[in-house]
Amino acid sequence: MSNRQPRLSLPDPAPRAVLGTLATLAARTSVARRAALTARTALALGAVLLCATAAAQVSYRLGGLLATEFGVAVDGTIPVAATGLTLKLDGEVGAGLFPDAVFVAELHAGYDAAAAERFEVGLGRAYATVYLGPVDLSVGNQIVAWGSADAVNPVDVVNPRDLSNPVADPADQRRATPLLRATVHAQQGVTVDMVVVPVFVPSTLPGERWQSAAELPTLPPGMAIVGVLAPSETPPAFELGNVQFGVRATLDLDLGSGADVSAVVYRGFRHLPTASAELVPTDTPGAFLVQPRLAYDRITVLGADFSAVFGAYVVRGEAAYTFSEDPDGNDATIGNDTFAAVLGAETKVAGGPFVTLQGAYQRTAADAGDAAHDSFSTVLAATFDPDNRTGLDVAWLHEWTDGSGAVRPTFTYTFADGLTGTASATVLYGKDGSTYGAWRDNTQFRLGLAYAF
């Protein structure tokens, strides 16, 4: 069995539907500042939780990760030239097998010479968990990974993503977000996981290199577009009515070598904006400016997932229906209902690689005159460890509706305890305008070195 996971994500089509680079600017404004404020509040709450058990023994450990990465694309540009340091403090309150509480705090600082914002400092996971009998209560900046499948997870809706590199490892794309989480371990193999997300944090949009050019509307004769205004962003306000929440109930089934099934309900907002535009008249007759608008749609997600072991195979599946507030598709400024499902199987080939095959289907309902959109893609991933230090991964993603896709071979080598080197290539193919063909220029090669301590 490999410890690595297939590393190729299916990007949501929404990012490329937004109006070019304009969207990127808006995503880093007031919402991000409010998220930082709420993260600090959550940390304070976590500290209070810890203080409640402070009479007990406290132990902690300081560690971290020092990493550097360099990449070059086929068009000669450099998509990444970064170095970063993540410090991690974790520990527990109490002694013995079952501590009273645990805590984690991660602080990241990085420099990327290829990024628009070269310096970056931010909080990663920073939360405390208190164990109260059968209940695990966590407060702070957390990552909640729902679902059973790999790479494509329709029910994994709690955390926003960092999609600046949209084909990065999906597990690395999750961004910690401030939330309150209660996990109840009930009897008979039932676990109920509840989350409350008080403040909305959007996903980081794909970098400029990954965004398609803005498509300006065609106007009747005598009318012309003379410019594009800065995008107007309308994030959900920080108020009680916009608190996001979700529940995932899991039942472990006493079948064979193990199986489980889960149901998910989530009420919140899409982490990626729906883009629209309107024309703003100028003082010159017939001359208009385009005003892009970015809105985050309120959604309700109903989903289910399962995993089951059948002999040498593990079968995993997920499905989710996302209800928007425009079920009839009348309003072009509101995203539509979507349905997504994924089914996959994995096994270890005797003496060979660990292989995963997944099929994913997504349907987006018709919208304001546009037809419904269907997509079907497959992910085939293989992982092989020729020796104790070397790892080889290959992941192939293919979108069958337009014939585009991506292939990513990765080579890893462990030089010493905690010191790992990585070389990977991402090859994107397809026709102009296709899902992945539009990104052909982003075909790239990356080298990385990481030291965990």
Partner: protein, 262 residues
């Protein structure tokens, strides 16, 4: 001469005397068993702790001589039928865990937890034959470190070496889903713990396991230094077990998904 030197000299004398006595005792051993079944029955009848907690240091050494080390905490109950392993070091695997629970039906439920993934994953039976976190041990072999090899094999006694040390051969029973079709293992009568196990597949020697150290804890002889060599690659992994605690009550909650990801 200092007190310290006195102490060292006295210790050396005691060690030599003990070794001499042990050698004599070994020579004086008469062979107690004449069939493989008797040996296997004796191994199975040997008292084993109901639970074990230990710290395991695993050093993986490539044919080139370069090595990697992993440290983990191991909880084992029901004679190894329930087992939980959590990684402590190095930092890049810290928090990873492995849970294996044999159910009343005989099926084994196996899961792993990887912090980077953020959730517990089920593992299929076939994957148990894969390398355990890059070592020369497979998941299946790690699970049976404290167990026996008798259930899946028809055993015969090949020979008895001085000691006495019994050399047994096990041929996989029809329908067995193990990784090997033949094993040859040496069992000293003094410990009734296998000191060397050769694993064969299709007539080829695949791996060699050697137990070169045991610890007497709570009245039990427990393997403390275990080495597994992969013949084809020349790599080997050595496991040093320490900080043994035996027969301590381990709550059933330990062998759960909840504890695995704590």
């Amino acid at each position: 001469m200092t007190g310290h030197q006195d102490h060292r000299r006295a210790s050396a004398r005691a060690l030599i005397a003990t070794a001499f006595a042990l050698a004599l005792a070994g020579a004086a051993f008469a062979q107690s068993y004449t069939t493989a079944k008797e040996v296997v029955d004796a191994m199975e009848a040997k008292p084993a702790p109901s639970t074990t907690i230990a710290t395991m240091s695993m050093t993986i050494t490539a044919a080139s001589g370069h090595s990697l080390t992993r440290t983990m905490q191991v909880w084992s109950a029901d004679e190894g039928r329930s087992q939980l392993i959590k990684f402590l070091e190095p930092a890049d695997v810290r928090g990873s865990g492995f849970l294996s629970v044999e159910k009343a039906s005989g099926d084994t439920e196996t899961m792993i937890y990887l912090p980077a993934l953020g959730r517990v994953r089920r593992v299929a039976g076939g994957q148990k034959q894969d390398a355990f976190f890059g070592s020369d041990f497979s998941y299946e072999e790690i699970s049976s470190l404290s167990g026996d090899f008798g259930d899946d094999f028809e055993t015969t006694l090949l020979e008895t070496l001085p000691g006495p040390v019994y050399v047994l051969e096990g041929i996989a029973k029809p329908g067995s889903d193990g990784s090997y079709d033949r094993i040859v293992f040496q069992v000293p009568e003094a410990t009734l713990l296998p000191q060397r196990v050769e694993f064969y597949r299709a007539g080829q020697l695949v791996k060699v396991l050697t137990i070169s150290g045991t610890s007497a804890v709570g009245g039990y002889d427990l393997p403390s230094v275990i080495r597994m060599e992969t013949v084809a690659s020349g790599s080997y992994t050595t496991i040093d077990q320490s900080d043994f605690k035996v027969d301590e009550a381990i709550p059933a909650d330990v062998f759960t998904e909840r504890f695995l990801q704590r």
